[in-house]
């Protein structure tokens, strides 16, 4: 194949970097069109994301959300399923986590934590189960059904938060505060116990859980039978059937796991910072997960790197919007959209040219 001609570092390093640079260049043009200096803007963005301890903490905090949703999209994608429902699955997963914290929050933290992980995963997986079943057995379009489940989930959660779970006496659609022992310990609090003085920030123990999930997903996809069956169905369903694999089962497994991973996002956002279930706490992270998975080439390591980049964009973007009033936080979405476009849909933009530059030597070696 044409792709094999390129050296590994060009394929995995140079091409994504060029695509990313193009996305930023186009975003820079938009900023220029609004009458601001793009270089100054990117300066604020980078300083806002990495310039000081607190900023780094916020970047890592956002990145944690994205690792969960990015992994979710990637797991489904290995089975060639486009899970656009990460948003709804994360939202419902948050409900599961919230219910555990609200009703079982009197238990000690070491007992609550596994229960919340279970609650978030179960509710997230349940929200992915219907689209998964419809895809596996009825052949309906998973892209459409997961999108519809985002809308349905949003309505259900609004109803619950307004009608059923609202904190008594409050005007806001949110639950009561979780008991204090269910709050996820923050990294600077943990560090203080070892005598380290880190800047205060919302980054918390969930980051570690997210990284453990990365390892778990890697093991699952490339080291287990279920993972193998999933990838086989993703590559070629007909061949998989011939090999004795049930595509329907593989679809169910990958979608349920995907939903479960998305559902864990609430660990970071709700138990880490909000300490209650609020309306729309997912704030588009489910959609960002699609970008994360694409940029990270559906590999856990790539997903961690992509999440760091997106986390930096979110945190730096907030600083940028503060320093340059012309540019609002919506600009982050624009930049992100361009990143998806150039790293995802237009990933082959530079490939032919690079093949001409780097491919020649090896093409002669090949028989």
């Amino acid at each position: 194949m044409a792709q094999a001609k390129l050296p590994g570092w060009v394929n995995a390093g140079l091409i994504p970097a060029l695509n990313l640079l193009t996305a930023f260049a186009v975003s820079g043009l938009v900023i220029l069109a609004m009458g601001e200096n793009p270089m100054t803007a990117f300066g604020y963005l980078i300083y806002g994301a990495f310039g000081y301890g607190e900023a780094v903490g916020y970047t890592l905090f956002y990145a944690t959300n994205f690792i969960f949703t990015g992994l979710a999209v990637a797991v489904a994608f290995h089975c060639y399923l486009f899970n656009i429902g990460g948003e709804g699955q994360a939202y419902l997963g948050g409900l599961g986590i919230g219910l555990v914290c609200l009703y079982l929050g009197d238990l000690p933290f070491w007992a609550v934590l596994p229960l919340t992980v279970l609650g978030g995963a179960l509710f997230g997986a349940a929200w992915a189960a219907v689209p998964a079943y419809l895809q596996a057995r009825r052949g309906s379009h998973i892209v459409i059904t997961t999108i519809m489940f985002n809308f349905i989930g949003s309505s259900v959660m609004t109803w619950l938060l307004v009608d059923r779970l609202k904190r008594p006496g409050s005007q806001l659609p949110e639950t009561s505060h979780f008991p204090e022992q269910t709050w996820m310990p923050k990294v600077h609090e943990l560090a203080a116990q070892f005598g380290l003085d880190l800047a205060r920030s919302p980054v918390n123990l969930s980051l570690l859980i997210a990284l453990l999930c990365c390892v778990g997903v890697w093991l699952f996809i490339w080291r287990t039978r279920w993972g193998y069956e999933m990838r086989a169905v993703g590559k070629n369903p007909e061949a998989a059937v011939y090999g004795g694999i049930s595509p329907a089962k593989a679809i169910m497994v990958s979608m349920l796991l995907s939903g479960a991973l998305a559902g864990l996002m609430g660990l970071n956002e709700l138990m880490g910072v909000q300490h209650r279930v609020i309306i729309n706490f997912t704030n588009g992270c489910g959609f960002v997960g699609i970008a994360i998975a694409l940029m990270g080439r559906n590999h856990p390591l790539g997903i961690v790197l992509a999440s760091l980049l997106m986390g930096a964009l979110f945190q730096g973007g907030a600083e940028l919007a503060f320093e340059m009033p012309t540019i609002t936080r919506d600009m982050i979405w624009t930049i992100q959209g361009f990143v998806i476009l150039f790293t995802g849909a237009l990933e082959h933009l530079y490939r032919p040219r690079l093949e001409r530059i780097f491919g020649r030597g090896e093409a002669e070696v090949a028989p």
């Binding site: 609004m34 459409i144 109803w159 012309t326 609002t328 919506d330 998806i340």
Partner: protein
């Protein structure tokens, strides 16, 4: 009895109004997917069209200029989609999602930069938007029982864009099934190799299909912000692009069935506006959130197999790579 009839006519009237952008977007998706290019980006293109139409109409005071610019903007987005999916053979779903996200961010960003009010556009004065037209004689026959109210309430009193939309339905159908271009467009979605063998450019055909979709999205967007509403509001498409896509899938990629599905969605939407706060027999008052999710739930239920087996155009979503 007349009370019920009035309610029915008013709901049907609202259905026609609400269905306008939905039908336009669904026809757009249909043209694109019949040529095998998946268009998840309907949502973003519609939003872009809505923003352009409202902005240009406000700045120039002309709804027509707004409409033209909305179509041009959506043609631009369609070209981008085509460049990614047809020329560079990129993933079509990803490209569509990217367009949705870019526009969802860009429209309020530009809106804020131009008008300095929170990303929306200011309300449009009546000259800068499409206002309802009264069909000839509508006022005369208003008092004639049944037929009079049907004519004056249901058929009359829509904007030009609604009438244009219902004229476009047979036009698109004719284009697809009765013209040589339509035949080739459908062929390129089923068997691009055959089209290529016949010496016709697969890429150029697909570009044209995508551009037609873009133009229709422009009309859909303009109808949202300058006919149904009177300004651009952030996220005003609110999933209509995805709903249009679902309608197209129910409609089995056929114009007549697709439009029927659009009307069904629009009807549930019109119904939910009327059901809010109403006590129903047996069930009592339904929480408003459940009424809002009616069209989405209906989509899932219908997709679960009540529409029979759905067969997409054979090459849908597959970039064409010429054999060498």
């Amino acid at each position: 009895m007349t009370e019920l009839l009035t309610q029915l006519v008013l709901t049907a009237d609202a259905t026609l109004r609400i269905s306008t952008p939905l039908i336009l977007a669904a026809l757009a998706g249909l043209c694109s997917e019949r040529a095998a290019v998946i268009d998840i980006g309907l949502e973003g293109k519609m939003l872009g069209g809505a923003f352009t139409a409202a902005t240009v109409s406000y700045l120039t005071g002309s709804a027509w200029l707004g409409l033209i610019c909305a179509v041009l903007a959506c043609l631009g987005l369609a070209l981008l989609h085509g460049f990614a999916c047809i020329t560079h053979k990129g993933n079509q779903v990803v490209s569509g999602m990217a367009i949705n996200i870019v526009v969802a961010g860009l429209a309020p960003t530009l809106g804020h930069a131009i008008f300095h009010i929170n990303g929306d556009t200011p309300p449009l004065p009546s000259g800068a938007r499409f206002t309802p037209l009264t069909l000839p004689g509508a006022d005369l026959v208003r008092d004639v029982p049944v037929l009079g109210s049907l004519y004056s309430e249901l058929l009359s009193g829509h904007t030009l864009l609604t009438y244009l939309t219902f004229a476009l339905i047979p036009a698109v159908s004719f284009m697809l099934y009765k013209t040589r271009f339509g035949l080739r467009l459908r062929a390129v979605g089923e068997n691009p190799e055959a089209v290529d063998t016949a010496g016709i450019s697969v890429e150029w055909l697909r570009y044209r299909a995508v551009l037609i979709a873009g133009a229709l999205c422009g009309l859909a967007g303009a109808s949202l912000s300058t006919a149904l509403g009177a300004s651009f509001i952030r996220d005003m498409t609110a999933g209509k692009g995805y709903l249009a896509l679902a309608a197209m899938i129910f409609g089995k990629w056929r114009p007549g069935l697709t439009v029927t599905a659009c009307l069904l969605f629009a009807f549930t939407d019109a119904l939910q506006a009327r059901l809010q706060g109403v006590e129903l027999p047996l069930v009592g008052e339904i929480p408003v959130q459940f009424i809002i999710m009616l069209p989405y739930a209906l989509t899932v239920v219908l997709l679960a197999g009540f529409v029979g087996k759905v067969v997409a155009p054979k090459a849908d979503g597959i970039p064409y790579v010429k054999e060498r």
